[in-house]
C-alpha cells in the first residue's frame, strides 16, 4: 500500500517513524510540509526526509506544495495530518476533498474538516467508493471510532460521555491534587508543554466540543455542528470548589456529553465521585459509551502524543488495507 503524508509536525513525524520501524508493508511515495514537498513513486527514504526536516526545516523541494502531492503523487491513501484550522478547516479540507475526488482513501487526524464538513466529506467518499477514516481526531490513541463502528456494531448508542481534552484534565488533576489555583496549574501545564501559549481553545472547552461534534456525527443520525454544543470551560473554576468537592469524595472534570434522545450536546465541568471511571489523572482521556445491548463501556488512554496518535492513524491505514483495498480503482 502506498501512502502520501501531508504534514510534518509531531503527528506526521510519528507516523513516518512508525511506518519505517514496524515493517507494515506500507510504502511512502510522497510527503509535504507547509513550505515544501517530496514525491517519488518508487518510495522515499523516511530516514532522509526526517533528517532533512530536522536540519533545514524543509522536507523536500520548495517548488512543490502539498496540493502537488495530492494531485500528482502515486498513492492509495492520503494521510492528512496538517495543523488544524477549526474555523475554515483549510487547507486540509481541500486536500481531503481533492484526494477523495481522485478516488483515493483518506486517513486524517485533522479535526477542522471532519467537524465542519462531515456530511460533504462522507458523501463524496461514498460516491467514489473510498474510505474516509479519522480515528486520530478524538481521544488520541483510544480506538473510539473502531469501537463505535465495529466493536459495538448493532448496538444503539444511548449516550457518550468523555474526558476529551488532556490539557484541561491535567489542570484539574493538579488543582485537586496539589491545591493549586487555576492560574498556577495552567502555568505548570505550559511548562510541561501540555498547554499552548494561547490556551483559549482548550480551557474554554472548544477543543473537546469539536471532538464531541465528530463523535456525535459518527453515531447519531442527525448531523450536528459546533453551534449545537452548549459549552462551558474550566477557566472560572477555583481550588476552593475542588476542595469542597473533595469533602464529598468527589472531584471536578471537564466532561463532553452527547445524549441524542434527550437532545443533550454539552461540554461542561461536572462533579463526579472520585471512584467514577471517568476520573482519570493527568493528560489521560477517557470515554464511556452507553448502549442498549452492551451496557456501559469505558475506554481510557493517552489523548495525545506523536506515537500515540500514529497508533490511531496506522490502525486506520491497516483497516483500509485489510478490508477496503480491493475497492480501490485499478492501478496503472
Amino acid at each position: 500500500m502506498r501512502v502520501a503524508v501531508l504534514g510534518m509536525g509531531s503527528v506526521g513525524r510519528g507516523v513516518l517513524q512508525m511506518i519505517e520501524e514496524k515493517d507494515l508493508g506500507i510504502s511512502v511515495t510522497a510527503v509535504a510540509d507547509s513550505r515544501s514537498a517530496l514525491i517519488n513513486k518508487d518510495g522515499i527514504s523516511i530516514d532522509e526526509v526526517l533528517e532533512a526536516k530536522a536540519k533545514s526545516g524543509f522536507c523536500g523541494d520548495r517548488s512543490l506544495t502539498a496540493m502537488d502531492v495530492v494531485r500528482r503523487a502515486a498513492y492509495d491513501v492520503l494521510i492528512e495530518v496538517t495543523p488544524t484550522n477549526a474555523d475554515t478547516g483549510e487547507p486540509a479540507l481541500t486536500h481531503i476533498l481533492s484526494a477523495l475526488e481522485k478516488g483515493r482513501h483518506v486517513v486524517t487526524s485533522n479535526k477542522g474538516p471532519i467537524s465542519r464538513e462531515y456530511s460533504r466529506i462522507r458523501s463524496l467518499a461514498a460516491a467514489k467508493g473510498v474510505q474516509i477514516r479519522y480515528e486520530a481526531t478524538v481521544g488520541g490513541a483510544i480506538p473510539i471510532m473502531h469501537m463505535l463502528e465495529h466493536g459495538l456494531a448493532g448496538n444503539r448508542v444511548l449516550a457518550v460521555f468523555g474526558v476529551l481534552n488532556g490539557t484541561c484534565n491535567f489542570i484539574l488533576s493538579r488543582m485537586a491534587a496539589e491545591g493549586l489555583t487555576y492560574e498556577q496549574a495552567l502555568l505548570e501545564a505550559r511548562e510541561m508543554g501540555y498547554a499552548e501559549a494561547d490556551p483559549t481553545y482548550d480551557v474554554k472547552g472548544i477543543d473537546p466540543a469539536i471532538k464531541l461534534v465528530i463523535l456525535a456525527n459518527t453515531f447519531c443520525r442527525e448531523p450536528v455542528t459546533l453551534e449545537d454544543v452548549d459549552i462551558t470551560g474550566i477557566d472560572l473554576l477555583t481550588n476552593d470548589a475542588l476542595r469542597l468537592a473533595e469533602e464529598q469524595h468527589c472531584t471536578i472534570r471537564l466532561i463532553a456529553e452527547a445524549i441524542p434522545d434527550r437532545g443533550i450536546l454539552r461540554v461542561a465541568p461536572r462533579l463526579l465521585p472520585l471512584s467514577h471511571p471517568l476520573v482519570v489523572e493527568g493528560t489521560l482521556n477517557a470515554i464511556t459509551i452507553e448502549t442498549d445491548m452492551a451496557g456501559e463501556i469505558t475506554l481510557i488512554g493517552k489523548g495525545a502524543g506523536s506515537v500515540e496518535t500514529a497508533s490511531a492513524i496506522i490502525g486506520d491505514l491497516l483497516y483500509i488495507r485489510n478490508f477496503h483495498a480491493e475497492r480501490h480503482p485499478k492501478k496503472t
Binding site: 460521555f161 462551558t232 472560572l236 473554576l237 477555583t238 476552593d240 470548589a241 476542595r243 469542597l244 468537592a245 469533602e247 464529598q248 468527589c250 471536578i252 466532561i255 456529553e257 461542561a268 465541568p269 461536572r270 462533579l271 463526579l272 465521585p273 467514577h276 471517568l278
Partner: protein
C-alpha cells in the same frame, strides 16, 4: 402511607416487618384510634424512607400479610444532588438564589458550604438540593441554570446523582 390493619396483637408488626426487610427506615408510626372503622379495623399512618424503586415490592409484601393499603402518600424530598456554584455569590444575593429553589415547594436547599477567600475574589459554594423525585430535581437544576446565567456565576452539575 396509610394502612388498614386488624385491631389485633401482632398485626402492626406484620405490616412493619417488610419495610425493614427491604432496607427501609421507619420515621414515624401514627395510630388513629379515634377514627371509627368498620369491622374492627384500625388505620395506621407510616412515614418511611425506602431505597428507590422498592415501593412496588413493599406494597406487595404488605398486602401478602393481609394488610390493606388505603393510600400511598407522596414521596418527599428523598432525591439528593450536590452542585457547585462559583462566582460573586454574595453580591448576587445568595439568599435569593437559595430561595428560588426553596420557593418551588418541590425542592429544597438542605446544605450550603461556602468559601470566600477575599472580597475581590470569587466565592465557591457547595449546595445540596433535595427533591421528591428525579423529575422535580431536574426542574430544580433547570431553575438553578437560569439563575446562574442571570447572575453570571458558574454552575457545576454532577454527572450522575451523588448519594
Amino acid at each position: 402511607m396509610k394502612l388498614e390493619i386488624k385491631d389485633a396483637p401482632g398485626q402492626l408488626i406484620a405490616a412493619l416487618k417488610p419495610i425493614s426487610d427491604l432496607g427501609g427506615n421507619i420515621i414515624a408510626v401514627i395510630h388513629q384510634r379515634d377514627e371509627k372503622q368498620r369491622g374492627g379495623m384500625l388505620s395506621v399512618q407510616i412515614v418511611l424512607e425506602l431505597p428507590e424503586q422498592r415501593l412496588k415490592e413493599l406494597t406487595r409484601m404488605i398486602r401478602e400479610q393481609g394488610v390493606n393499603i388505603q393510600r400511598i402518600g407522596h414521596e418527599r424530598l428523598l432525591y439528593q444532588k450536590a452542585v457547585m456554584l462559583i462566582g460573586h455569590l454574595i453580591h448576587t444575593d445568595l439568599g435569593d438564589t437559595v430561595d428560588r429553589i426553596d420557593s418551588t415547594g418541590f425542592a429544597e436547599v438542605t446544605e450550603l458550604n461556602i468559601s470566600m477567600p477575599a472580597i475581590t475574589q470569587v466565592s465557591s459554594a457547595r449546595l445540596v438540593i433535595k427533591a421528591v423525585n428525579k423529575e422535580d430535581m431536574e426542574q430544580a437544576i433547570a431553575i438553578l441554570r437560569r439563575v446562574a446565567r442571570e447572575k453570571e456565576f458558574l454552575l457545576v452539575e454532577p454527572l450522575e446523582e451523588i448519594e
